[in-house]
């Protein structure tokens, strides 16, 4: 395996000094469940990795007040999840289950038990695989991503964070601190569904996040898709259709709109054609599942 240096800084000053060494390819490391396979396959050849797991606050899951950067203007508290929070910590967190159920469900689907004990939310986002389970959930939650560079912090909406396969809006030298999920009204319903070759230890062939948010006189819907486009995507066309109601005919129209938004490829896990079919099936199942819960 390609050799690289490993650093584990205790504070941000140290971390950014290590991350910005001139002439060196340095990548931040969290759970390492993506980095190690990528380096073994010689697809990534870093000179060094900087383990962010020891940085203060990066493992927190808590409620925070609206800030100047993220969650700006919110009157209620936001859910903060640190970049180094493990998938199992997220899946089992009562706060996440309460404030961002769709994300807790998605975290529970990642890899298998051992992977979920190591893999982190920040890592899933930084890797930015189109198939990353938690990413479509972050899109429908309209989470904000708090990032930090040597000199400043900034907030990037999750909707603008994923730019392409394994490409994000992070600038060189920046790391993800965490995400902030804006508060959602009581009665919000969320569902993450996916299809994979095996029930455990596998990658999504299609991942789907759906949320129904109580709004004046009905529901506002959000639909996010994974593994069927170069990035996780939202499906505004389907959401608009559902805003008019969720009777059977409207649901079918929304499913067709979701299908139209998917641009999957053929790979060893599935053909594009099967992925399209599964977008239809999963969307129908998730919508029916949520509709059944609507009081």
């Amino acid at each position: 395996m390609h050799p690289f240096d490993y650093y584990k800084p205790k504070d941000f000053d140290e971390a950014f000094a290590m991350l910005t060494q001139p002439g060196k390819k340095v990548i931040p490391l969290a759970g390492s469940t993506d980095i190690i396979p990528m380096v073994r396959d010689e697809r990534w050849l870093p000179d060094a990795v900087v383990d962010i797991k020891g940085l203060p606050g990066l493992r927190d899951i808590k409620l925070v007040d609206s800030g100047p950067l993220c969650c700006a203007g919110q009157t209620a508290q936001c859910l903060y999840i640190g970049a180094a929070a493990r998938m199992n910590e997220i899946a089992h967190s009562e706060l996440v289950q309460q404030y961002a159920s769709v994300l807790a469900q998605a975290a529970q689907e990642v890899g298998h038990e051992q992977v979920r004990n190591r893999a982190t939310l920040g890592g899933n986002m930084g890797t930015a695989s189109p198939a990353g389970d938690t990413l479509s959930a972050l899109l429908v939650l309209e989470a904000d991503v708090l990032v930090k560079g040597k000199d400043e912090e900034r907030c990037i909406p999750a909707l603008k964070f994923f730019l392409g396969p394994r490409k994000t809006a992070l600038q060189p030298g920046e790391i993800i601190l965490g995400v902030q999920v804006p508060p959602l009204p009581e009665g919000t319903l969320g569902r993450y569904l996916r299809i994979s070759r095996r029930k455990g230890a596998d990658l999504a062939i299609v991942g789907l996040s759906v949320m129904a948010i109580p709004a004046e006189g009905g529901y506002q819907w959000r639909i996010g898709l994974g593994a069927v486009a170069p990035t996780p995507i939202r499906v505004p066309e389907a959401e608009t259709i559902l805003a008019t109601g969720h009777d059977e005919a409207t649901v079918e129209k929304a499913i067709q709109a979701t299908l139209a938004a998917a641009r999957p490829i053929d790979d060893i896990r599935a053909t594009a054609a099967y992925r399209r079919e599964m977008v239809v099936q999963l969307t129908r199942r998730a919508l029916q599942d949520i509709i059944a819960q609507i009081p």
Partner: protein, 788 residues
């Protein structure tokens, strides 16, 4: 030693190695320490599936600081192989699969060896590869082994030099010529099904990838540490391949972290020994990565099968024609015997009066096809068991009843002319059909699901040379505890546990008094064992252990009989005490089994340390006619069994959920019923995996899924909701307490049983493996469109 299990044969005593394994005390090869003199090696792999080697330049790699030696095909001029001596340890002149070892780099660290391996420069002239076994068998196919005529092979293998066919086994029975079964026979058939089936190569995926450490001492002694199913066969192959005396080669094999056939015979171990020869005195360790495990060790062969079977209106199978083409990979060393086994068992577990079978192993530019659990049987049963279902369907008969009518029964003259030894396959069918409520339609769990049940039956004989031997030693300690020595390996099946049970049973001592001296198995100290393969150990090693224990027992009874002045025939050993049924006297084994017993008034002593030795070798297997496959005794015996599966298919996604697998096997005698059940459970899961995964290559022969990311075996979450097992016990004439093997059989027919159940649920059939949710989904919907 508080618990005392007397007469342990037939009882589910705990595994003898359980405590050490679950507490992590067991050391595997990679755990062993070799001190500061240890070097590490990495293999240089061919980047082409088929190419001529023009030039190998190691100068840049040798210049890397820390590199100690590099070996290439120049250093390995002799061909080697278990059956077909068709390969050099490192490729010379030509490479025949992507990943073939071309050179081996030895360095002071694994990292340096890996770095230097990338600097070995090899110039290739790329040749046209061939991957499909049927295509490779055609006269115009690219030839992989132009020198085949010069190779050596045993007399029961029939290669066809000038082609890629490394073995052609012919079976002719009844009204049949080389052209086929007599048309008059076909004319009597009310139903005939003819189909082509294809299976991809698959991998064993042991938890422990291949690893080997070798040291070539300056004195000429060679020591190899390897997790091996075949320490003695490895010694034999190394001694032959390297031209050194057997006594100079020592193979040490600690516990094996998963074998499944992949650690039978020889794989990278020979490469490591050659690398060690280049740095005499230093041990050299080579560990396969998971990726290398897929493309550079052994895999199961692919198969192209074209099969035609017919039956009359009452369901009697009258005729079969079948041609099997096994894709053996670049070297068919072990694989020729798989094709042979598939030839002499080509009908599956059925009595068919007219049979024409042709079974070939064929060189293909893919990884080396070799032994894997089932040894050809899962491959051929995939097609046979689906055709039998189709025939039953066509004549309107229940598929289970169809199998009861046609399956092999005790005393039948089977396809090779051999009389079928005692088995009860009908009882196996009865057990599994009862276990899943066969014939009773049960509702699916949701409206978009369809539920179905399927059955498949199997047979398998140990596939091996006619005369593989086993031996064993039992040695008493002062307190009458016993050490049993065997050369068999425990690959999870529980061989050491049953060895202890058998020794205790014969010696009349509790199970807890027995230690099995096998960790490691060591060719320098352990008694000979051919190989731990073919599900032959309980039977063959068991007979040797029983003989060794009997040898010790006889000595003990003679000593005590003389001491008491009685007839040994009146004596017995119970719970560690010699008793006389005549005089009712008692003599504990303690002390006397080492110190002997005094004569009257202590005027001298008799006896001494008790050591028993025993051996077993089948002596009755005969040759088969090369033109017809006929002979008096093709194999030692067959194990038979049935599986029935209850499953649901999600018609919206194609996903299959197995609700229940019921298995029943005729094991002759379950020496340890729990261990039989664990085989049945493991086999059901392994069989599932074999139905849903395969190795896929690109157009250049590079494996596309050489890792567990995209080669998916069943996980704990995928396994059947319920695994049910029944044990049938029809004693085997020459089995210890009647026992025969069951290790491989438990997965042989799982894939076709699943396919038959999917058909029952959905009306859709599959000729090719692997199955996948996508494939099933497409087939269901294609069928729906057709109906519309």
């Amino acid at each position: 030693m508080t618990k005392q299990t007397t007469d342990p044969v037939g009882k589910s005593v705990p595994r003898i190695d359980a405590y050490d394994k679950v507490t992590g005390a067991v050391q595997y090869v990679d755990d062993l320490q070799f001190g500061p003199g240890l070097y590490y090696g990495k293999l240089v792999h061919s980047p082409h599936a088929h190419a001529i080697i023009k030039k190998v330049d190691v100068s840049k790699a040798l210049a890397v600081p820390g590199v100690k030696a590099i070996v290439t095909g120049e250093d390995t001029p002799h061909r080697m192989g278990l059956y077909m001596q068709d390969r050099y340890i490192f490729a010379r002149d030509r490479v025949r699969y992507y990943g073939e070892p071309v050179a081996g780099v030895v360095a002071i660290s694994e990292e340096i060896a890996e770095q230097a391996a990338k600097l070995v420069e090899v110039e290739y002239e790329v040749l046209q590869p061939v991957f499909d076994p049927y295509e490779a068998a055609q006269p115009d196919a690219p030839l992989l082994h132009p020198d085949m005529a010069e190779y050596q092979w045993p007399p029961f293998i029939f290669p066809e030099p000038g082609t890629n066919i490394s073995e052609h086994f012919k079976l002719r029975k009844g009204k049949v010529t080389d052209e086929g079964v007599d048309p008059e026979v076909w004319a009597q058939c009310a139903a005939i099904v003819e189909k082509t089936f294809r299976l991809p190569q698959i991998q064993h995926v042991p938890i422990e990838p291949h690893v080997a450490v070798a040291r070539w001492d300056l004195s000429g002694e060679v020591t190899l540490w390897s997790p091996s199913q075949s320490p003695f066969a490895q010694r034999d192959l190394l001694a032959q391949g390297l031209g050194i005396p057997h006594g100079n080669v020592r193979v040490i094999s600690p516990y094996v972290g998963g074998g499944f056939g992949g650690k039978a015979g020889i794989s990278i171990e020979a490469n490591v020994v050659v690398m060690a020869k280049a740095v005499k005195g230093h041990p050299v360790k080579v560990r396969m990565t998971r990726e290398e495990e897929f493309f550079c060790t052994n895999v199961r062969q692919s198969l192209y099968a074209h099969t035609k079977i017919g039956c009359d209106k009452d369901g009697h199978v009258l005729a079969m024609e079948t041609a099997y083409y096994f894709g053996g990979g670049g070297y068919n060393d072990y694989g020729v015997n798989i094709a042979r086994a598939a030839g002499y068992s080509c009908t599956g577990p059925y009595s068919i009066p007219n049979v024409k079978g042709d079974s070939h192993s064929v060189y293909t530019n893919t990884p080396i096809g070799s032994a894997m659990r089932g040894f050809g049987m899962p491959e051929i049963h995939w097609g046979i068991e689906q055709i039998m279902d189709r025939l039953a369907d066509e004549i309107g008969m229940d598929p289970a009843e169809f199998r009861r009518i046609n399956c092999v029964k005790t005393g039948d003259t089977i396809l090779t002319g051999m009389k079928m030894p005692a088995v009860d396959l009908v009882q196996c069918i009865d057990k599994v059909t009862e276990a899943i409520n066969w014939g009773k339609e049960e509702p699916p769990s949701a409206p978009h699901k369809k539920r179905g049940k399927g059955i498949a039956i199997m047979w398998k004989a140990p596939a091996m040379p006619p005369n593989p031997g086993s031996s064993a030693i039992v040695r008493f300690n002062e307190d009458a505890t016993v050490n049993v020595y065997v050369g068999a390996q425990d690959i999870g099946q529980g061989a050491f546990t049953v060895a202890a049970q058998m020794a205790a049973q014969v010696l009349g001592i509790p199970y807890e008094w027995v230690r099995v001296s096998v960790n490691p198995v060591d060719t320098k100290y352990s008694p000979y064992e051919w190989q731990t393969v073919a599900s032959r150990i309980t039977w063959s090693m068991g007979n040797a252990v029983r003989a060794a224990a009997n040898h010790a027992r006889t000595q003990i009874l003679e000593i005590v009989a003389k001491y008491w002045d009685e007839d040994p025939a009146d004596l017995d050993i119970k719970n560690g005490v010699v008793i006389s049924y005549k005089s009712e006297r008692e003599q504990p084994l303690k002390k006397m089994v080492v110190y002997g017993l005094p004569n009257e008034n202590y005027e001298g002593w008799q006896g001494g340390p008790i050591i028993g030795s025993g051996k077993f070798m089948p002596t009755y297997v005969t040759n088969l006619d090369p033109d017809t496959g006929q002979g008096a005794r093709a194999v030692v015996h067959y194990t038979v069994g049935a599986q029935a599966i209850d499953l649901e298919v999600d018609t919206e996604t194609g996903e299959v959920e197995i609700l229940k697998i019921a298995s029943a096997y005729d094991v002759g005698k379950a020496i340890n019923p729990d261990l039989v059940m664990t085989q049945i459970e493991g086999g059901a899961v392994h069989g599932m995996s074999s139905a849903f995964e395969g190795m896929f290559f690109d157009e250049n022969g590079r494996l596309k899924n050489p890792s567990l990311v995209d080669y998916k075996i069943a996980t704990a979450m995928d396994i059947p909701k319920e695994i049910h097992g029944d044990i049938v016990e029809t004693p085997l004439e020459d089995g210890p307490w009647g026992a025969r093997g069951v290790g491989e059989h438990v997965m042989v027919q799982t894939a076709p049983a699943i396919a038959n159940a999917i058909y029952n649920a959905t009306g859709v059939r599959f000729d090719d493996l692997p199955l996948s949710a996508e494939k099933i989904y497409r087939a269901i919907h294609a069928q729906e469109e057709q109906e519309q």
